[in-house]
Structure formats: C-alpha cells, structure tokens
C-alpha cells in the first residue's frame, strides 16, 4: 500500500491523541432539562446550583401582577365576545412568562412584544385601554413606545428580533446600559428574522434577551412541524449564544432564569436565549377553534400545572402570602377589570382625517390633496345627514 498524503490525512485522526482543547460549545448549550424550582403542585425542589430563588418581595409582586394579568386576560376575552374588541389573542396559562419577562427588567430597559403580550404590557404598567387600542380596531398602537420603552406589539413574526438587536447595540454605542428583551413564540423561531436577529445581536455583542414562549402551537401547527432541534434553546449554540430552558409554568424559575439572563446581557456578555415551556390555555384568538387540533386531555394536563395556583400554593406554604393579602390582591384585580370594562364600554372617537397624520413628518402635496378630498366627503355626508 502506498502512503499518499490523502491517506495520511485520513489516518491521522485515529492516531492523534485525544483532544486537549476545550469544546468551543462548552457553556453555550442549555441543560438537558428545563430549569425548575417548584414542582407542579407548588412544592419547592432542592436548591438549584445556578439559580437562587428571587427574594420574597419580588415573588409577592410576581404573584400580584400574575393575578391582575389573568383577570385582565379574562376581561379582554369577554370584551371580545361583547364586540368591544375586533380580536384578542389570549395568553392565559402563560402568566409566569408574561409577568416574569417584564419583572426581570428595569424601567429604562426596552421590551419588544408580539401581539400576544398584552398581559406583559399591562404588567409593565401601561394603561390597559392603551394596550387594547389596536385590538379594538383603532389604527395606532395606543401607548407612547418611546416614553414606555416598549415597542409597538409586533404582528409580522420575528421581525422584532432584529429591532431589539439594533436598539440594544445603539444604546450601548451611546454609553447606556440598557437591555432589550424580545418576546417571541415557538412558531416564529422558524422565521428568518429570528435567525438574523440573534445572529446580529451575537456578532455585535448586543445586550438582548431573546425570550421564547414555547406554548406548543403556532395557531394549529405543532412544535414538531417547526423544528427538529432537541429544544428551541439549543438553537443558541449555532450563534455562539448561551441559552437555557425553563419550566414556563414555574413562575419562580422563570423569574430566576430571566434575572440571570438580563444580568448576563447587561454585563456586556452579549445576548442570551431563554426557552420557556408553557401552554396557551385558550385558542389562538377568539376566531380560532382549538378543538380541531388538540384534545381535552392535553389541555386538562396543563390545567394541573397552572402557574398562578402553583405560585400561590408555594407562597402560602412559605407564609409569604396569607388569606387577607390574597383577598386584597383578588379585590384589586376585580377593580382593575371593572375599570377596564367601564372605560371600554364606549367606542373610541376616531377622526378619519387623522389617517393622514404621521404618514410622513410633514404630509406630501399628494396627501394634502387627499386629506382635503376626504374632508369634503365628510362635510358632504354631514350635510346630507342634516338634510334628511
């Protein structure tokens, strides 16, 4: 047998001693199992080596906002059935993620929500009527995104992932220690902009936390049709981004993991990817029929892992939450819903001429013409009404 250079090269791996350089993926891969600090009944698990339990005050606030958030979600669903909202994508069952996501942030940080983050936004302190503006059929996002440091709720899937990278890099470029948190669902991780966003954030070391709420379905399409990856968190290694999986119905674990992810980003280590395993208890929106793609037994199994009950049980067992406090939180949530109901009971006043505002900083001559045309049409319609 002649020894060609090719043969030598082929043979060398077998003869070479075991590699001594560390695996470059070391520290990037998520743990094989989601981080969990409470079992599904609310019983604490042994202390986690990497994720200490957040302080009791934070957990009390987490509970309070989750209770209010759920009551908000129920109210918004009811308002949709009453015709007050054009559509409402519920996040019931995802309270730990919705509230934990914003509780891990400072007010100066930025949130990049999707259309399913209404609960997160009210939890961030934005007026619920403003949050529901778009869903009740008005043309704008309702709140002031610059003042609230919260981007408009994003409907085109995953596109906000790139905005978060740019915003976070821009803030760092200007010497500010802002972190951006981008919410995204399991289905949207298939979109190119998820890949481009996390890749840009990694290459530019932008302080972004990508927070995937894996609620198992993209409308009707199950996770198995989105990915063949071991988990969505495993996608991080391909970008050089550390990641973690968390039990998304364990509020304490969600807050602990996100707190660490935010700290990682703020410290200048670049982005972090978190996948929360959770479940959307309601259909995609009021217009969806979830019985066509998932069975009742599956939904019931997730009902047993309810995040609000789980946290309440734990806090009561620990003596952090007592009966009167729980009752007071429930009462606050009822008042919150009653106020929302009352203020959503009238249709908002919309001015057709406002359609021409903010298309450009100053309208083009063509828009000035069109605005005048619409104004004349409206005036003529009013005159006809007056004549009738």
């Amino acid at each position: 047998m002649t020894t060609t250079p090719q043969a030598v090269r082929r043979a060398s791996p077998r003869t070479r001693p075991a590699a001594t350089t560390p695996d470059p993926a070391h520290g990037l891969l998520p743990a094989g199992e989601p981080v969990r600090l409470l079992d599904p009944t609310g019983t604490p698990l042994p202390a986690h080596p990497d994720y200490p339990e957040p302080p009791a005050e934070a957990l009390s606030e987490l509970y309070r906002r989750m209770v209010i958030g759920r009551r908000f979600d129920i109210q918004a669903t009811a308002l949709t059935k009453q015709g007050r909202l054009a559509v409402y994508p519920s996040s019931r069952g995802q309270e730990a993620c919705q509230v934990g996501g914003v509780l891990a942030l400072r007010d100066t940080d930025w949130v990049f929500p999707t259309y399913r983050e209404s609960m997160a936004l009210v939890s961030r302190g934005i007026d619920p009527v403003e949050v529901l503006t778009l869903l009740r059929g008005d043309w704008h996002c309702g709140y002031d995104p610059a003042a609230r440091r919260t981007a408009p709720q994003c409907t085109p899937l995953a596109t906000q992932c790139v905005h978060a990278a740019g915003l976070a890099y821009g803030e760092a470029h200007q010497g500010r220690d802002t972190v951006a948190l981008a919410f995204i669902g399991d289905g949207a991780t298939s979109e190119g902009d998820f890949h481009e966003g996390i890749n840009f954030a990694a290459v530019f070391k932008a302080p972004v936390v990508y927070f995937v709420q894996n609620n198992r379905y993209a409308i009707s399409v199950p996770l198995s049709r989105q990915t063949a990856a071991p988990s969505l968190a495993h996608k991080g290694v391909g970008y050089g981004v550390p990641s973690e999986q968390v039990d998304g119905n364990d509020p304490i674990a969600v807050l602990a993991v996100l707190t660490r992810a935010v700290a990682h980003a703020r410290a200048g280590n670049g982005p972090f990817l978190v996948e929360a395993h959770t479940y959307r208890m309601e259909p995609h929106t009021n217009a969806d029929d979830a019985t066509r793609y998932r069975d009742g037994a599956e939904v019931d199994a997730w009902r047993d892992r309810d995040p609000v009950t789980r946290l309440e049980t734990y806090l009561r067992d620990r003596g952090v939450l007592d009966g009167p406090t729980a009752a007071a939180v429930a009462e606050e949530a009822e008042a919150y819903a009653a106020d929302l109901r009352a203020r959503m009971n009238t249709q908002p006043a919309v001015d057709p001429l406002s359609l021409f505002d903010h298309v450009y900083a100053s309208p083009t001559p063509q828009l000035v013409e069109q605005r005048e045309q619409v104004r004349a049409e409206l005036a003529a319609a009013r005159d006809e009404d007056g004549d009738a």
Binding site: W110, W139, H140, C141, D144, P145, A146, A147, A151, P152, P156, T159, C161, V162, H163, A164, A165, G166, L167, A168, Y169, G170, E171, H173, Q174, T178, A180, G192, D193, E196, G197, N199, F200, V203, D357, H358, V359, Y360, A361, T364, P365, Q366
Partner: protein, 338 residues
C-alpha cells in the same frame, strides 16, 4: 470648479454627514474595510472608526431591521444594499416597519434611516444585479424615494436624505456612478419634492428620472436635427413627487413622453403619465406616451441593449406625438379591430 464623479460625490456626502453628526452610522455588506463593492463608502472606516462604519453579516433583512432598532435608540443609520435585487429579503422590514413605524406610533417613534440601493443596469451585470426596483418602494406609503441623475444632486440629495426625519430609499443609478461632471462640493441643489427642468424646450416634454435622464438629454439633442425642440424634466424625487413642475412644463409644450429604464407595466412612468393627463388634458395635443424597458426579467449582458430604452426608442415615441394633428394610426387600427 473641479471634475468629479457621482461615486465620489456620494462618498463625500457620507463623509461630510458623518463629520457633522456623530449619530450617523454607515454599514452594510463590505461597507467597512473594503469601502463597498462600488467604493461609495471608501475610506470612511479609516477616518471615522469601525464603530461608525462597519461590515455586517450578509443578511439584508437583518441590516435594515438593525437600522430600525438603531434609529429607535436615537441614531441615524445609513445602510447599503449591495445591489437592487439583493435588497428583496429586506422588503418585509421596509414595508412593514420602516415605512409604518411613525404612523403606528403617532409620531412617537420615527425611522430616519437611509437605505442606499445601487440600481438599474447598463453595466453588463449578470442576473440579479440590474433590477429597477423603484416602483416597489414608491408604492409603499411612508417611504421617500429619491434618485439622483447628476453629480451635484448625488451629493445634495444624499445629504438631505440623511438629515430627513423620514425613511428614504436612495436609488443610485449604477451606470452613472463613474460619469464625471464639473461640480463644486459641497453642492446644494433643489430640495426634496422639486423636479428640475434640465433642458428647456418648446415642442414636447420628456419626463425622466435616474439612469433615463442622460438618455432623455441625448435624445433631446438628437431631436434638434428632426426639428423638435424638446424640454427635459428630471424628476429627482419620485416620492414626494413634484406635480407642479411636471404639469407646468407639459402645459407649456402640449406634448409629453415619460422615459424610464424600468419595465413599464405598473411602473413609476405609468403613474407619471396618469398624473400628467389628469392635470394637463386640455393642454395636450397628443396622448402621453411612455418609453420604458421591456416587461421581461432583466436580460443578460449580451442582450441588455435590446431592453434598455435608448435615444432611438425615445425619438420614435416623440415622432408619434401627432405632430400633424392626426391620431396615431395604430390606435385607429386597434379601434376598428374591436
């Protein structure tokens, strides 16, 4: 006054904008070290550092989306799409976010970014390198769409684009990059929203933009031999469009041919022709005609001359402007066939 090229004028505009405003960042594929494949960003990284002029991953949606986020943080990004057809992956970001963010937020957020697109053909480029994509952007409310045809405009309009509070798609005619002209920079020409009469004439108006402007000027020169005195209007800013200057010219001349390099169907030239006839019907002695590229995918280098509207095609159209006040016989034939 020194002679310079459009490429150098664009480079000078970027450099001067970066020197004047530290919020201006310039980035894209090969925009950093290399200075861009057309060298429009040449020397900017060396002068301003790699945090102000830099390369990005090869991902156009990422580049534009990243710019949206940077603008939200208060910066002024200028991004380069390497070629016209390479910008298509960014279209969702452009149409759904760049164009709409001001509107969706009632002005609380704006996207003062410039998307530079080297466009159109005539350079012997292989497939996907020569598209005229301006109609896609012009059809999207919220965007300004600008295309210079002169060295002075290249500088001045790019400076204005960078300073503008709205997103600007800045279409750079590749075949004019290395055309030179006398220009003293920094030049300041007419602002956004103003078309310019490049050549006055009495008999008919040629309305053109971008790479079609030199063709129209050449055709006007050649038309003198036929006895026609043609006016040439350079649109310059497709959005916002200057109806007033175009209509005033056509009312003076009574005849109009719209010239564009892009394929014709549903294009910018169709919009211009419609606007002219809506405003000038009673001043017109002949239908408004369009001269454009063919409605085919941009052809290979060996065939692109067949596609590109040249002087002859423009003059043929001018000849059909009913100079003897007789209708075009081809329309009579179509009418009798119907």
């Amino acid at each position: 006054m020194a002679t310079t090229t459009m490429a150098k004028a664009l480079n000078a505009a970027l450099a001067d904008a970066m020197a004047d405003d530290e919020r201006v960042l310039v980035f894209g594929e090969d925009a950093g070290q290399l200075g861009g494949v057309f060298r429009i960003t040449d020397g900017l990284q060396a002068r301003f550092g790699d945090t102000r002029c830099f390369d990005t991953p090869l991902a156009e949606a990422g580049i534009v989306g990243f710019a949206v986020g940077l603008a939200m943080s208060g910066l002024r990004p200028v991004v380069e799409m390497q070629f016209d057809a390479f910008a298509y992956p960014a279209f969702e970001q452009i149409a759904s976010h760049v164009a709409k963010l001001r509107n969706r937020t009632r002005g609380a957020l704006s996207v003062p970014i410039v998307i530079r697109v080297p466009y159109a053909g005539g350079i012997g480029g292989v497939e996907h390198h020569c598209d005229s994509s301006e109609a896609y952007y012009a059809h999207t409310p919220g965007l300004k769409v600008i295309t210079p045809a002169t060295v002075g405009d290249a500088y001045s309009l790019l400076r204005e684009a960078i300073a503008d509070p709205d997103p600007v798609v800045f279409m750079e005619p590749k075949k004019l990059y290395f055309s030179s002209a006398e220009a003293s920079l920094p030049a300041r020409t007419e602002p956004f929203g103003r078309a310019v009469v490049r050549r006055p004439g009495r008999d008919a108006t040629l309305v053109a933009y971008g790479p079609a402007v030199p063709v129209a000027l050449e055709a006007a020169e050649a038309a003198r031999e036929e006895g026609w005195d043609l006016e040439v209007v350079d649109v310059r800013t497709i959005v916002p469009f200057d109806d007033a200057t175009v209509a005033a010219s056509v009312r003076r001349t009574g005849r109009c041919v719209v010239v564009q390099e892009a394929q014709g169907f549903a294009g910018v030239g169709a919009e211009i022709a419609a606007r002219v006839q809506e405003r000038c019907f009673h001043a017109l002695h002949a239908p408004v005609l369009r001269v454009s590229g063919l409605d085919i995918p941009y052809p290979a280098p060996m065939l692109e001359h067949t596609h590109l509207p040249g002087v002859d095609r423009v003059l043929d159209a001018v000849a059909r402007l009913q100079w003897d006040d007789q209708p075009d016989p081809r329309w009579l034939a179509e009418g009798s066939a119907a």
